[in-house]
Amino acid sequence: MALNPAYLKYERRRYGMDHDRYEWSMLSRRAPIAWPNGARVALWVNLAVQFFPLNQSGKPFRPPGGMSTPYPDLRHYTLRDYGNRVGLFRCLAAMDEAGIVPTFSVNAAVAGRYPQLLERLNRRGNEMLASSWHMDTLHHGELAIEDERELIDRSLGALRAASDQPVTGWLSPARSQSGNTPDLLAEAGLRYMGDWINDDMPYPFATRHGELVALPLSLELDDQFIIQSNLHSEWEYAEQVKDACDYLLAEAEATGHGRLLALSVHPWLMGQPHRIGALESALKHISEQAGIWSASAADIVAAWSDQRA
């Protein structure tokens, strides 16, 4: 028995990446990026406004945080719905207290289901970025391109109508993508996406319809990843966020290059009464540091784009 000889052929063994989506580039060797007002670290706090449907298909995989018991999974449905009813408002109070600007990633289905919630978000005026239809509309390699185009257009259309914002950013449910997703996002007029998690700064991303900006929304520092997947405590979460903030500030100071601190926060998780204090503590620490630029994701992308040679 042997493997197919093709298994020992390496057709993409070459300089750079094994795909054509972005150039190989080491963060430590790039031209410096300066954030407004001499800030060293740009802070993007992304609050997830999500809908997990009770009749989840789970295809091609169960979205993290999705339904997990036999139908009807009232337990997980309502735990997630808690975020939109209660948790989000606790998180917003914490953000406001710390003077930190939120960006909302919004499943478009929420706009139709909870117009009152969209009205509250509209009144605040913070940026909303599109996050597909709901948490069970994953973008993946088995999705036909026409179906994915329809899904993206429908989601963007609904969110643009409900928000009265241009909506220039994208975050897929579970950061999932097909091979076509970036092309379709650019085709739909989007400017940046948060799904690729391979950097601590924005970088240019090639598509068939022009360039997108990849704005990595860290997974390793995501509240759901740390608390729900890794089972670390909420205070350990806060400690890790503070350590990341301090490290990036020091690195930016030492190198003279701006850095990005991207925090993915799920109100159904951090907005629980026993966890919100830890989020407050982390946000307070960040807000007390000199050199932090709290901004919307689109403003960070714009500041970065303006400085590209």
């Binding site: 028995m1 042997a2 493997l3 197919n4 093709a6 298994y7 020992l8 390496y10 993409r12 063994r13 070459r14 300089y15 750079g16 990446m17 094994d18 795909h19 190989w24 580039s25 080491m26 963060l27 430590s28 060797r29 091609p60 995989f61 993946h140 390699g141 088995e142 579970a174 950061r175 999932s176 993508q177 097909s178 091979g179 799904d195 690729w196 998690i197 391979n198 950097d199 601590d200 990595p216 860290s218 997974l219 390793e220 520092l221 997947s229 890794n230 089972l231 670390h232 350990e236 400690e239 890790q240 966020v241 350590d243 990341a244 903030c245 301090d246 490290y247 990036l248 690195e251 601190l261």
Partner: protein
């Protein structure tokens, strides 16, 4: 292939308190080495019949992006910390990275680091390879290290820890001296290979591997730092009777995140702040053991892994 052995027949049993009184250079009690895995994972590799490369359907950008972070961001950070504490890395190298990212190879060469083979890609597994295929894969990696890194390759860690019954025989025949694939001991061990040449296991400490810590055991960053210190304290204490080996295997895509660097650096500073520590590379440890202790060990206990021991065909 039907499994035929109930024991890999690579080494013999030896109790911890009946060892040669190893003394490392300078009278050190612990030989300490750090093994950064510098890897390339493919976005859409061909399928291996026994192991999926990625959990999600292609393209699994989450798995891929997680690894790519190490190359884009992590290695440079990790190197700076290792430099600061006087540690030269022993690189477990995906050989194809020499072509993909030669800048990283240059950064290691500037630091006089060691390179050893970790296969071609960490998404190409040895499972199912016949002898000629596995030999070709190993020789390819050894040639790449000679050509791009300017070194002979002395050590092996199978790509993604995928082995066959022949892996160590083939690596020994390709000129190899030591393996990082065996986790049975805290001292080097003679390993039986079919050529009969000198070949040793150098402890690689899978339990302290950052990927095992962060991905499998899901441990908090500061606890990882504490675990490294605890391991060191014990190996330092026991090393008074006979030298021990401590390895910290790293992956920049894990340890070099901004929320994990501080705890790691604290632990590294703690270890290198002790006097009787030999900060070495894998090859240096293997060569020192072979030169000073291998013959004694073989004379006393045999070459290890006698053919018929535990061979439950």
């Amino acid at each position: 292939m039907t499994p035929v052995r109930d024991d890999p027949a690579l080494y013999d049993y030896r109790a911890w308190d009946e060892r040669l009184p190893i003394r490392w250079p300078g009278g050190a009690r612990v030989a300490f080495w750090v093994a950064p895995n510098i890897e390339f994972y493919e976005l859409d590799p061909p399928a291996n019949p026994q192991r999926k490369a990625w959990p999600r359907p292609a393209p699994d950008i989450q798995g891929y992006g997680t690894r790519d972070y190490g190359n884009r961001v992590g290695h440079a950070r990790m190197m700076e910390v290792l430099d600061r504490h006087g540690v030269r890395g022993s690189v477990s190298l995906s050989a194809a990275l020499c072509e993909h990212h030669p800048e990283i190879i240059d950064m290691c060469r500037e630091r006089n680091w060691e390179f050893f083979s970790h296969g071609i890609y960490n998404t190409r597994y040895a499972y199912g390879m016949d002898e000629a295929q596995e030999r070709a894969m190993i020789e390819d990696s050894v040639r790449a290290i000679a050509k791009h890194a300017g070194q002979r390759c002395s050590g092996y860690l199978a790509p993604a820890l995928t082995h066959t019954e022949r892996t160590l025989d083939l690596f020994s025949e390709a000129g190899g001296l030591y393996t990082c694939d065996l986790f049975h001991d805290d001292q080097p061990t003679p390993v039986r290979v079919r050529s009969g040449g000198a070949f040793v296991s150098v402890p690689y400490s899978l339990e302290l591997n950052d990927t095992i810590v962060y991905v499998v055991n899901r441990i908090e960053p500061r606890r990882y730092g504490a675990m490294i210190k605890q391991a060191f304290d014990r190996l330092y204490e026991e090393g008074e009777r006979g030298g021990t080996v401590m390895c910290v295997p790293l992956h920049a895509y894990q340890v070099a995140h901004p929320h994990r660097m501080r705890a790691f650096e604290d632990a590294l500073a703690y270890i290198t702040g002790h006097p009787n520590v030999w900060v070495a590379t894998g090859r240096e440890i293997a060569e020192y053991f072979v030169e000073h202790y291998y013959d004694q060990a073989v004379a006393k206990w045999g070459r290890g892994g006698s053919e018929d021991s535990g061979n439950g065909a």
